[in-house]
């Protein structure tokens, strides 16, 4: 395992499968009367959120607490002008207080990468979403959800998503979820198709390991999972699409469209949903929609990531003592 988790693209297939397998074991803990494991006892994790995201923060917090870590929540006031000094200084301040790992959400693409690589702090960094760049734990929880639903919790163990056809629909341009999913799903052997109006696809994505379509209807019958991304109404004002009505007519998922999907196919959404925009209430509330499962799976997946990144030896410990025989 690597020291940090910055981008879904950094994960190998085997690492990703190990995370998903570990998440599966974590999921079973959720069924126990005591939903707690001692793996991170005595470790302090700081959730450093420069951007408001209550659901991601709570998900990490739940994962950290279930692993018995001590948790510090730091919400830097969400001003978009939070200067560079504050990121460096804030991180250094927290490290001085004995933080063992930093989970960071930041509005600026690359901020977690900088935090991990600029020598500001030594602690491992976990990216909880940066700008329009990456959101690797979201991609992992999405892949976990797909594997559970499409292969099954037990049948999925050790497996990747080879041959699964995943369609991601919506504002690809501004989506870190889409970028992370393309990277991870490709690594896991899935075939990804991105569907969006051309205005919401980035220039320069020709080399991405996925297909692109402007037409949702022709893609749906060939999908094992359809992931709808949130489309913010403000995008309309910057001429990304003419009106809300036109967007939902061309790219929204309603009951009729869902009927074109294969019977086993699922509908996913990273939340929060904009009902009536990219997804209708009928679809959002249908049993094929995994949005609530994704929330639960987020905790399991983040537990797996935290355990695999932080559960083992710290450099200081392993250097002080040579690796010994396992005591049986």
């Amino acid at each position: 395992m690597m020291r940090h988790l910055i981008s879904a693209a950094d994960l190998t297939r085997d690492e990703a499968v190990l995370i998903l397998d570990t998440a599966e074991e974590m999921a079973r803990v959720a069924d126990r009367p005591i939903k707690k494991l001692p793996a991170l006892r005595g470790r302090t994790i700081c959730n450093l959120f420069f951007e408001d995201s209550t659901r991601t923060r709570i998900s990490f917090e739940a994962a950290e607490k279930r692993l018995s870590a001590d948790v510090i929540n730091f919400a830097a006031k969400g001003s978009s002008v939070s200067k560079g000094e504050s990121l460096k200084d804030t991180a250094q301040t927290l490290e001085a207080m004995g933080v063992d790992a930093v989970v960071i959400r930041h509005g600026a693409s690359g901020a977690p990468y900088r935090l991990a690589n600029s020598g500001w702090i030594d602690a491992p960094v976990i990216n909880a979403g940066d700008g329009t760049h990456q959101h690797p734990t979201q991609a992992l929880l999405d892949a976990f959800t797909m594997r559970r639903r499409l292969l099954g919790p037990d049948a999925g163990i050790g497996q990747d998503l080879s041959g699964k056809r995943i369609t991601v629909v919506g504002d690809i341009l501004h989506s870190r979820v889409a970028r992370s999913n393309v990277d991870l799903l490709h690594t896991l052997g899935a075939q990804v198709t991105l569907v969006a109006p051309p205005t919401l696809l980035p220039v320069g994505m020709d080399s991405w390991p996925c297909d692109v379509s402007y037409d949702l209807d022709s893609t749906l019958p060939k999908s094992d999972a359809v992931m709808m991304l949130r489309v913010q109404r403000e995008r309309m004002n910057a001429a990304f699409f003419p009106t809300e009505r036109e967007y939902s007519r061309r790219y929204g998922l309603d009951g009729d469209r869902m009927a074109k999907m294969p019977e086993h196919a699922i509908v996913m959404h990273p939340g929060p949903m904009v009902r009536g925009m990219e997804i209708t209430a009928e679809v959002a509330d249908s049993p094929r929609c995994t949005v609530i499962e994704q929330v639960a799976n987020g905790v399991h997946t983040r537990m797996a990531v935290l355990y695999l990144l932080l559960g083992g030896n710290e450099p200081a410990v392993s250097h002080a003592r040579p690796v010994e025989s396992e005591s049986k």
């Binding site: 200067k83 560079g84 693409s109 690359g110 900088r114 220039v203 994505m205 991405w208």
Partner: protein
Amino acid sequence: MSKILIRGAKVLGGEAQDVLIDGETIEAVGTGLSAEGATVVEADGKVLLPGLVDLHTHLREPGREDSETVLTGTKAAARGGWTAVHAMANTFPVADTAGVVEQVWRLGRESGYCDVQPVGAVTVGLEGKQLAELGAMHESAAGVVVFSDDGKCVDDAVIMRRALEYVKAFDGVVAQHAQEPRLTEGAQMNEGVVSAELGLGGWPAVAEESIIARDVLLAEHVGSRVHICHLSTAGSVEIVRWAKSRGIDVTAEVTPHHLLLTDEMVRTYNPVYKVNPPLRTENDVMALREALADGTIDIVATDHAPHPHEDKDCEWAAAAMGMVGLETALSVIQHTMVDTGLLDWAGVAQRMSVNPASIGRLTGHGRPVSAGEPANLTLVDPAYRGPVDSAEFASRSRNTPYEGLELPGRVTHTFLRGRATVIDGKLA
């Protein structure tokens, strides 16, 4: 006045010759010149160039003396082999009045390391709305010839047209920072493969090219000359090439960093690579080199843009745009243009001294290395190779993208009107 004999220098890279300086002037150029009464500088095969002229620097004074002053900036210039630099107008206050340009000009005279020629703002406060008093700046002691809102584009077509027309009265030139503002809202880096992956706001090539296309057509229409700052794309090269073929009076510059670095560097998210216009692709770099070699691009200018450490020691989006360049420019040009065989040293002299002096109408710079000419000279050791170490910089700022990079060439001596400003690589 004292005499200096530079012995055995390859003038413009040619045969080794001696150059005798008497006072502010070159007295003689030849072989076996007498050293009597002269301080001897053994050139020993080094290359002698006319003192370099930079049409594009940011010396930050007045207003941002924490990043650079005219004094530190001119010291940096001298170390880089420059004898004249143009100081851009985006200071605080903006150099949009005779008072500010005279202040900058006077600070340059006082520094004594390098002539400083202020650039005047085209519009009041660089706001693109109302023409600044261009005539008054020209008539001031600073004698401003080059006008630019650099850092911002003169995007209003009418204002640009009027400025192009107006400066004709005193042979001025408008230097355009070509950047369509609406197409570059939130822009953080070149728009392309890398920006798509990194999720950073894209700065499309078309935002530069569309303004250049418009401005060369405006210049043609009103019969003015126009200068394009820091060309960065292959498409811009094509437009300038076309404009020149039509006889439009356009000149263009390229920065050393756009001749060497690409947007691949941004993958490190290290803001030392954040610059405006942004680093482009390998294809653009190659087109720019070719254009500089064939004369489509007239000059090299540094766009020396010092920033304090804290403005670069942060996340990419929060970081300032710009790189220092005065002290590394000649090495980068040797590396990218001379050592690649695209230019000889005479060609370097043309593009880094003669042509920029001509665009800025500087009479005392960019002159031939021959008897009777002002003794503005730069001696370069092209055989030197070494890593860039910003700790040696005279500039107050260290935001170089070349830290630790091994580059060829080193300025050993710079002479400003007969006086050595740099001796053996150190400030005199």
